[in-house]
Symmetry: C2
Subunit: 152 residues, 2 copies
Amino acid sequence: MSKSVCEQLKLENQLCFPLYAASRLTTKIYAPYLKKLDITYPQYLVMLVLWQYNEMSVKDIGNQLFLESNTLTPLLKRLERKKLIIRSRSIDDERTVIINLTKSGLKLESQAQTIPQQIENSFTVDGFEKEELIVFRDNLVKLLNILNKQKK
Amino acid sequence: MSKSVCEQLKLENQLCFPLYAASRLTTKIYAPYLKKLDITYPQYLVMLVLWQYNEMSVKDIGNQLFLESNTLTPLLKRLERKKLIIRSRSIDDERTVIINLTKSGLKLESQAQTIPQQIENSFTVDGFEKEELIVFRDNLVKLLNILNKQKK
DNA sequence: GAAGATTAAATCGTGTACGATGCAAATATA
DNA sequence: TATATTTGCATCGTACACGATTTAATCTTC
């Protein structure tokens, strides 16, 4: 990349902008599906983690999603208000808050089952081949790992 | 992709999550550089647009960044408070608000010149080849175009 | 086993995002 | 040309993100 400094400052030549915009627009693609479940996109991500691992501390969820308690605590309180989860202090370590799914939280998983396929379809219909999509996702994960390493 | 429905609900198998997380972590990579300029990441994106096009309406900026006035108006007011831009109503069309750079807004560009290269370096040092990075970016832009088409 | 360091959540303040709505200016149409 | 529609921006309410700080519990170290 031997672009001039001026060229580099252009929006389309940066990695950051398409990443930022694609992330936001993707969230919007989920919106109509998630509206039916009455949850937001970040709340959906938390539910994905809980469906997979069942019981987790706030810290654990944060490690999965790269989020801290300052974001998670209010979000989890909203999920609790929706009766999807239960927040309780660990007996072993009073500092730790344990998140458990309620029955309706657990039941919501079946309603969410169809979402990933529908989203994937909306990407593949015009544009991406499925194989291409996999390579792309692997690249994203690779970037994510690099970014995560830098953090430390 | 013949993953079971259950598998598809796992975090690492979705496209959306690495996109969301990578976008957020990338923003954090920018933070120390932007702190020196005393602007946030979305403010930086607006400045990129203005450095490239000089004079733009709120609508124009929104078209470039996929943002609406409900996000841009308060953000632009903050940039105005920092004396980086001037907001004024168009004479031709009183509905339109024209954004112009101030002298210090224009001057800030030279301070931002080094940022893209530094960011690119932090991606390439361990992990990504430059060519790989270009393919990846092109994929992101492709996704962005698909997403943008779906919106309409 | 008390003092100090570390850790897990929570709280606070600021700044996005975004759906929904309001409002005034401009445009289209009867 | 009066009226309806559209357009560009602003406002409002809700929900993230996140740096910085606080609080309480646990762990270290002597």
